[in-house]
């Protein structure tokens, strides 16, 4: 069944390489017109997913829908509306950037005349378009790769680590371009390890680990649910403050930080509830010496993928 409002849907996607499970029933739903951050530690299955989405490999099980159409063996025409940059950009080193894009334009979806120069301008590579790709820096190759992905004016853009090798100006330029594309109603799926970049760029994120989706949703919503408030109290008041905080945010949601002083209490809740917690402590006669509220995608990523250092102290 085709899902409305979604540019990309996978259901129960599974892929195995010998004994190694790359994907273990991956369910993704990428809303149309959004920038979707596709996150996961190394080996989580991101690139395998990208390869399946572009028809390079076939899943062992599961289904894929691209732009509201089922995508499987023999449905290559769906890819005419998809642009992709998977792993490292691929070019003929002896041809110029422009010639490479022209060569690529000869395959797959027809590309209107003038489009090659249009995308070269878009990625700020017009001045070097006549130079051989073998002389390009990594960042220039990456920009050319993004230009190649944009060649057929895609409705869905799949980018694997697009910020690789880009300088800060290039990253900002790429971010602006992708945001502009999303504003036009196009959908962008970005796989990246630069979490701060994804936090700036994406509307929605999906986090995969061990071939499964472990968290998916709008960044603001996820960070609200998975946010935390850190409160520092006098060491002698920790045992009083803990139960007070739990009464406000719920049992089992407050833990003690594992710093040597053990005077930070961490309440897992919407960061906007910091004032409420502070008031509760004050009413109980405990005064916080410091309060920090908020959450980062990085903290969420490390927590849900289990790839971060073990920072958990004892739960109160």
């Amino acid at each position: 069944m085709v899902e409305a409002g979604a540019a990309l849907v996978t259901r129960g996607l599974a892929k195995r390489y010998g004994k190694r499970i790359a994907l273990d029933g991956l369910d993704l739903r990428v809303p149309a017109g959004t920038v979707y951050g596709f996150l996961g530690p190394n080996g989580a299955g991101k690139t395998t997913t990208m390869r399946i989405l572009t028809g390079l490999i076939r899943p062992d099980a599961g289904t894929v829908e691209l732009l509201g159409r089922p995508f499987g063996r023999g449905d290559r025409r769906v890819l005419f509306d998809v642009g992709a940059l998977i792993e490292a950009p691929s070019f003929y080193p002896f041809l110029s950037g422009r010639e490479n894009l022209r060569a690529l334009a000869a395959a797959g979806a027809p590309v209107p005349k003038g489009r090659v120069d249009e995308v070269l301008t878009l990625v700020n590579l017009r001045d070097r378009a006549s130079d051989r790709v073998s002389g390009y820096s990594m960042g220039m190759r990456q920009r050319l790769g993004i230009a190649a992905a944009l060649l057929n004016d895609p409705k869905l853009l799949l980018l694997d680590e697009p910020a690789n090798g880009l300088d800060p100006a290039g990253i900002v330029g790429m971010r602006d371009t992708l945001r502009a594309l999303a504003a036009q109603g196009r959908t962008v799926l970005v796989s990246s390890h630069i979490l701060s970049e994804v936090e700036h760029l994406a509307d929605v994120v999906g986090i995969v680990a061990h071939g499964r989706l472990v968290r998916e949703g709008a960044i603001d919503a996820l960070l609200a649910v998975d946010g935390e408030v850190r409160i520092r109290v006098a060491p002698g008041e920790v045992m009083i403050a803990g139960p007070v905080l739990e009464r406000v945010v719920g049992a089992g949601t407050v833990r003690l930080d594992d710093t040597p002083a053990r005077d930070w209490l961490i309440a897992r809740c919407d960061p906007s509830r910091a004032a409420e917690l502070n008031r509760a402590l004050a009413e109980a006669g405990v005064f916080a010496s410091r309060i920090e509220a908020g959450a980062t995608l990085e903290a969420l990523f490390l927590e849900v993928t289990g790839t971060g250092p073990d920072v958990h102290g004892g739960t109160l």
Binding site: T54, L56, E99, A106
Partner: protein
């Protein structure tokens, strides 16, 4: 057609094309230089006569073609392998498939582009070879009165057609080996190994090897005589030219089919 056109535009710029052309032309020129020197300096009258015959028209038309197809065949195998292998190595096949290109079609058009470039190189080398033969004939003062002998024109046209088929098959075999190996170097190595190995194995099991691609090319180019329906195997143990032509055509189709099938079914990663 845009894929073939794009392939040709790309292959013209590709260093491997220039290197292959120069290698073939250089080898042909070297061979003719050696023949001229041998014709002039040979003390043995038999050797001198043999060298003079190579430079004497109309036979020079056929001997040059035979040389170009022999040397060009080996280079065509490596050329086909280098083109297919680089598609995997550089990831350009991946990029095209991800754009929705038909896999099998992409492979077949890749072969077509390489074959056209190989034909152009072979024709160029043949022209240079004929030029070298003419210069050589002039140097050793051999007659070139029979340069344009209408009686041989028909046979030459047939052999030129067969040379085209042979080169196409060589390119396709190299392309297919590299497609299966997914590697430029492995493809070139395996292609050369196959080419040379066939000759070596042929010493021990000639009955089987005569059906192999390169032995069939050799038999096909041995003359324009022989047609389908005649005895398939000549008294020398090689296939008759007509049967050999059919065998080479079958190898071409098999190689193209395998390359297409392999590309169609491959899991493309990296």
């Amino acid at each position: 057609m845009r894929l073939v056109r794009s392939n040709l535009q790309r292959l013209i710029r590709r260093p491997a094309t220039l290197v292959t052309y120069l290698l073939l032309i250089g080898l042909i020129l070297l061979i003719y230089l050696a023949i001229v020197v041998a014709a002039q300096q040979a003390v043995d009258p038999q050797s001198a006569l043999a060298s003079r015959l190579i430079l004497t028209f109309p036979d020079a038309w056929f001997l040059t073609l035979s040389m170009v197809v022999g040397l060009g065949g080996l280079l065509a195998v490596t050329y086909g392998a280098s083109i297919a292998g680089s598609e995997w190595a550089w990831g350009t096949l991946k990029a095209s498939i991800a754009r929705g290109e038909r896999r099998a079609w992409y492979a077949l058009m890749g072969i077509a582009g390489a074959v056209i470039m190989a034909w152009a190189g072979t024709l160029l080398a043949y022209t240079v070879g004929i030029g070298a033969a003419l210069v050589g004939a002039n140097v050793i003062k051999a007659t070139s009165d029979t340069l344009l002998d209408p009686a041989n024109a028909g046979q030459l046209v047939v052999l030129l057609g067969r040379a085209g088929l042979a080169i196409a098959m060589d390119v396709a075999v190299g392309f297919t080996v590299a497609t299966i190996a997914r590697s430029q170097l492995a493809g070139i190595g395996a292609g050369i190994g196959l080419y040379l190995g066939e000759g070596i194995i042929g010493v021990f099991v000639p009955g089987i090897i005569r059906w192999a691609p390169f032995a069939a090319v050799s038999a096909m180019m041995s003359g324009a005589d022989g047609a389908l329906g005649e005895a398939a195997v000549t008294s020398t143990g090689r296939l008759d030219p007509g049967t050999a032509t059919l065998v080479v055509a079958v190898w071409l189709v098999v190689a193209c089919g395998l390359a297409a099938l392999w590309t169609e079914r491959a899991e493309i990663s990296g």
